[in-house]
């Protein structure tokens, strides 16, 4: 695109132009996971694509959490489902691909070539502060973790993708425990986070089971 407005950051990275939209903050809040290991959180229905960032509680205060999916009714996105056994509050922010032109008659507005608004100075957009695309951990029974430090920002939100799973069970006699685990994030401090396994279901088994899907994960740090 050889025309229009282009804005670069200090490192020469293009951050605003008339070609690509920027997702802006739609709503935010907090929720307390329930005993089902998953929690459905509703937000005001919107036809705009959502992206939800989660901010778990600190290590020792709460458990890890991951986004399982979005809820949708007709053409509207209505909420999200998170997986966690934590008993603490988890903060969230919902960003959307809003292209509605605000009524504001001041500030900077940038449009694409279809007259959709892609940036407006009156909205809050998220930064992709960090993408770690090499998050790899060992499954149960090893339960290894992967810690990431982002010392230049505090208390960001996180998005984990893809979220893998593992089933692990063993016998200690006629039967033994079995657990179903998913990847999740847990806050270590205001400037660091841990990717590990969250146990979302437990039962009994009569045989050794260790199987699942444990991909390399992307951790996105949002602010």
């Amino acid at each position: 695109m050889g025309y229009g407005l282009k804005i670069y950051n200090d490192n020469g990275v293009l951050i605003i132009d008339g070609k690509y939209r920027n997702f802006s903050e739609y709503t935010s809040g907090s929720f307390s996971p329930n005993s089902n290991a998953y929690t459905t959180v509703s937000f005001t229905a919107t036809s705009n694509l959502p992206l939800v960032g989660l901010q778990p509680q600190e290590l020792g205060v709460g458990g890890s959490v991951s986004l399982i999916g979005y809820t949708k009714s007709g053409s509207n996105w209505t909420g999200f489902v998170a997986s966690s056994l934590s008993i603490s509050n988890i903060n969230y922010k919902v960003y959307t691909s809003d292209t509605v032109n605000p009524a504001d008659t001041y500030g900077l507005k940038v449009y694409d070539d279809s007259s959709n608004i892609v940036f407006h100075s009156g909205k809050k957009y998220f930064d992709i502060h960090l993408v770690d695309d090499s998050v790899a951990i060992l499954p149960p029974p090893f339960y290894t973790n992967y810690d990431i430090t982002h010392s230049d920002i505090s208390n960001p939100y996180y998005f984990l993708s893809p979220v893998g799973y593992w089933i692990y069970g063993y016998v200690t006699g006629p039967q033994g425990p079995i657990g179903f685990f998913r990847h999740g994030v847990q806050k270590i401090s205001s400037t660091s986070v841990r990717v590990g396994w969250t146990r979302v279901y437990g039962g009994v088994t009569t045989s050794l089971v260790s199987a699942g899907w444990n991909p390399t994960i992307n951790l996105i740090v949002l602010q």
């Binding site: 605003i16 920027n22 694509l49 999916g69 979005y70 957009y125 695309d133 993708s161 979302v200 279901y201």
Partner: protein
Amino acid sequence: MSDFGFRSYDAGGDIIVDGASLLNRFRYSTEVATGVSSNTTLSDISGKSTVELVTMVNPPTTGLWWWSMAHTVTRSGTTISWAPASGLPLIVSSASLIEVFLYS
């Protein structure tokens, strides 16, 4: 903070964009039905970093909900591909939302 370049403030006087910003740039999305494999080529992402985010759409929250998984998504060159998780042990494939963002 830079004393030059673009800076945008909100109504409260807080900076929302400046030279340190790494604003998300949305490139592509698709909603994929259960069991579907496909791909798309995005020629303009050549030489650019992207992150592909995938989540289930209307994941089950009853019964054996923990068996459901979103699609797997990969990028090779300028092609984004997705496939159901059904080939994995014990797993039920779900519909998925795939979102691709440019960064850095």
